[in-house]
């Protein structure tokens, strides 16, 4: 028996990039289907979404309050100046709420790995959705292709690997 997908349990901290991918492909509802009651959004991410008139119902907004959280936030910003306030907020939330960071941003992913924070992206979300039979393998492939058309940066090789994996999973 293959192990459960890592996103099937525990909190998830979302950054704007991943939410945008789902929003632009009219599939934001997938997040609630998969992560109801365990979806965390930094208030810095929420601000980015609000500025773009994107609403994400069902997520818990997390503010930074303690010296320790602010200290971590500051240090991460200092060491990774290419990250925006939203991404650093999402990383901070993942760290202090022991959640998995979900982002497609290369810089954010690298930073999370460096800080030993578990990380996943659109592909992980879609794999999890297929595993839970929320969507079919083919629907997941179509969705990922739609994300690429909407500007998600996913290489052809990765797309092909994903296609093979979810179609096998569906067998």
């Amino acid at each position: 028996m293959s192990p459960q997908h890592k996103l099937r349990a525990g909190g998830v901290s979302l950054d704007s990039n991943i939410i945008l991918d789902l929003y632009l492909t009219a599939s934001l509802g997938l997040l609630n289907d998969l992560f109801a009651e365990r979806m965390l959004v930094s208030d810095f991410v929420l601000r980015e979404l609000t500025q773009a008139a994107i609403r994400l119902p069902g997520a818990e907004t997390v503010n930074l309050t303690t010296d320790e959280e602010w200290g971590f936030f500051r240090e991460t910003r200092r060491r990774h100046p290419g990250l925006g306030v939203g991404e650093v907020g999402a990383i901070t939330v993942a760290r202090f709420r022991h959640a998995t960071l979900i982002t497609n941003d290369m810089q954010a992913r690298q930073t999370a790995e460096e800080l030993e924070i578990p990380v996943s992206g659109s592909i992980g979300v879609l794999e999890c959705a297929v595993e839970l039979a929320v969507i079919s393998g083919q629907e997941a492939i179509n969705l990922l292709q739609a994300m690429v058309r909407e500007g998600a940066w996913i290489s052809d090789e990765l797309l092909e690997l994903f296609r093979q994996k979810v179609l096998t999973q569906g067998d």
Binding site: I54, N63, L64, L83, G86, D105, Q107, G151
Partner: protein, 375 residues
């Protein structure tokens, strides 16, 4: 972090002219709590910080700056400028983003700041003469000599590291604004509502201030309430006129294309397009150089005004799109493209730097990718 956010919050509140008790009420906290936050004694809740950023109209990243004093953009203390405060904030954000992009791409400090030709009122007895000399010296330094028009001043100054931002400001009488900081170098804000000829002159005018009056850039606010300094403004006008239309170049063009015949409106149109300035300025330069007598200058000015479709427009507008060419190929955009396409910045960071929301930033990156793929 509280030691950084607190003082930044206080500075921003002071600049907005808000009293502590009023601001505390708007934030929904007590004055004592705000005071403790501003003094760096307690950490702020990020939700309150975001509310403060909204109320003060500032990007959230402003509150995380380590050295606001060293980075502050300084304006001339004695100016008569009423740029709207939102335009000023956008200008300062642009200058700061420009610097950050240079650092992220790894080209910060690769360009030398244009030299200062310091004007000292007690030493230089002929300010106008000084401005003429500076215009000539700067043309030589930039390699454009004295005999030809400047091809594209936007491009020329952009290549020198001058940070130029054009924003639409409703009040056409706000032509431009300049700021300086040792970190950012020279920064110029132009009113994009005005004609391109006006923008060209304003750019040269502000550049003149930055070259000649750098030691006057001491104030954090552009409008200090001091009376307008006519000498400095006049010097910047003389600089702009001589930088855009040098005596030698105008005499050569005049000799070559007009000669001894009386100057007509067609000559003014030809010369204004050749030097890329307004018809008014061209007539004034011809008069200054004695190529046109006072009566002829007056009647030509009357004729220009009669032909002008309305006072906000220029007769015989420039035929080449100098501003558009520069907009399509400017250093700031190149740095932003490079940072995004080389994955040096995240989407959120790009949105912050460009003052866009994340959907707009995503679309911008998509356009850049398509552009590069098609190249």
């Amino acid at each position: 972090m509280k030691e950084i956010i607190g003082p930044n919050l206080k500075t921003a509140r002071d600049l907005a002219g808000l009293r502590q008790e009023v601001f505390a009420e708007q934030l929904g906290i007590s004055r004592a709590t705000l005071s403790a936050i501003e003094n760096g004694h307690v950490s702020i809740d990020s939700g309150i910080l975001l509310r403060a950023a909204n109320l003060l109209g500032r990007p959230i990243s402003d509150f995380f700056k380590d050295e606001p004093e060293a980075m502050a953009l300084l304006y001339r203390a004695a100016v008569d400028i009423a740029a709207p405060s939102d335009a000023k904030l956008e200008f300062e954000h642009f200058c700061s983003s420009y610097r950050e992009l240079e650092q992220l791409v790894g080209v910060a400090d690769n360009l030398l700041t244009p030299p200062a030709y310091d004007y000292f009122p007690h030493v230089h007895s002929k300010p106008d003469h000084f401005a003429v000399q500076v215009a000539a010296a700067e043309r030589e330094r930039l390699g454009v000599g004295q005999q030809e028009p400047v091809e594209n001043i936007f491009q020329l100054l952009d290549e020198q590291g001058v940070r130029i931002l054009a924003l639409e400001m409703k009040d056409r009488d706000v032509y431009g604004l300049s700021g300086f900081s040792p970190q950012y170098g020279p920064c110029i804000l132009l009113n994009a509502v005005n004609t391109v000829e006006r923008r060209i002159f304003s750019l040269a005018h502000e550049y003149g201030h930055l070259l000649m009056h750098r030691s006057f850039y001491r104030s954090k606010e552009p409008a200090s309430g001091l009376p307008k300094d006519h000498d400095l403004e006049q010097m910047a006008n003389v600089f702009a006129a001589n930088f855009l239309v040098p005596d030698v170049a105008l005499k050569i063009a005049f000799q070559r294309s007009i000669g001894d015949k009386p100057v007509g409106i067609e000559d003014v149109v030809f010369l204004k397009r050749y030097f890329k300035v307004s018809a008014d300025m061209m007539i004034r330069r011809l008069k200054d150089l004695g190529l046109l007598d006072a009566n002829s200058a007056d009647s030509l000015m009357t004729e220009v005004n009669r032909r002008r479709p309305d006072p906000t427009q220029e007769i015989a507008p420039l035929q080449s799109d100098l501003f558009g060419e520069w907009k399509r190929l400017n250093r700031f955009d190149h740095l932003a493209r490079k940072a995004a396409l080389d994955n040096l910045v995240s989407l959120g960071k790009l949105a912050e730097l460009l003052g866009l929301n994340i959907v707009e930033a995503r679309k911008r990156v998509q356009e850049w990718r398509r552009d590069v793929s098609a190249a």
